[in-house]
Amino acid sequence: MYAQFFGNYLLTRDIVTKEQLITAMQKKTSQHMKLGTLAIHAGYMTAGEVDRVIILQTHQDKRFGEIAIHEGYLTETQVAELLKKQKPDFLRLGQVLIEDGVLDNEQLQDAIINYQSESEFDDFIYSDETRETIEHLLANFFVASERPLTRYELSYLQLLFNNLVRFIGDDFTPVAPYSAKEYPTNYCVSQKVSGEFSVRISIDMTKKCCIDFASRYAREIFPDFDEYVQASLEDFLNLHNGLFTVNLSNDYSVELQPDPPALETRELLTFQTETYLLPIIYPFGMLHFIIEIAPVE
């Protein structure tokens, strides 16, 4: 699942723009994976070799795999293995970026190698992520904070990404969070959770985006922005924060109490305390989580 972070990696290294990433994400669900892209990721072929096979394909009426075997780049066993293997979502994204002319094979190869080495784990998409790996990934991801994340914050983010995958879909890319003093709202709902410490979480997106978000969450199609769509945002926030309080109670014996979620009516939110914005890009648009730590009453 943490292939989601690959999109963010491309963004933060200025390899793609936000617009290019959104366009690519919208296309990638219908993307058919190419053997060349899979072979690069598996380390069986270099980007140069893939490019050479693609050029040869323009002169011969043969499939990529056949030419690659003939040229000695791949064995028949490797081709069979690549075709059988799970197709990782982030590679689909990379392939769309190639087809859109944003990247070439060489650049995608470099990006994959650098991302995997900087993230300090191999073959991450195929393996079961351990708790430590995920925490490590999250800690690296959350660079906006000048202090290390507390175990509660790590636990919160980990659950948030899990819940997005579970209730909305795994086809998202989180953009690196940043601290903020203010935020102009679109459609925004908030929920305060308090006890041993206090935090206010808001989720904000355009009304059009709300309709898609709600349709996924409720697993039914909402054609218009109505009361069920509005309730879906509050429900998601309430469910996520509720599950967080359960985890905190079970894992750390920390008791927190969520307030009922409420519609945010202010057009501009201003923050007096440490506040982070976490943008999440889905194919249907961008949403923001706003995390205010210990908000002042």
Partner: protein, 125 residues
Amino acid sequence: MTLNNVKILIGDDSILARKQLKDVIRSYGSPIFFEAANGQEAVDAYKKETPDLVFLDIVMPVKDGITAVSEIVGHDKNADIVIVSSVGTQTQLKAAIEAGANDFIQKPLNADQVRHIITSRFEGR
């Protein structure tokens, strides 16, 4: 099993959560539903309708679910109340049971749990 003439009260501030719970229950029959969007409305609706079964959320505006359970049970000690909440901590569970709730369902809603609640009460009708 028939749910005809069975009265079910659903107290949840989310119109979506109320709809989803009704949809699940409707797959087992057609009871008479009453709805409340906060704890106070739930208490008032209970006193007026005396439903056979009550589903209550915990986190609600005006009056929370645990307080509503206490008040409903104070009014009718035989009230059959099931808490449906995402805040399923041991502390909340204990508070709900002490207040007089009979069951607790952790959100997200699981159709099997709802079926168990319904069949354990109304099977044979």
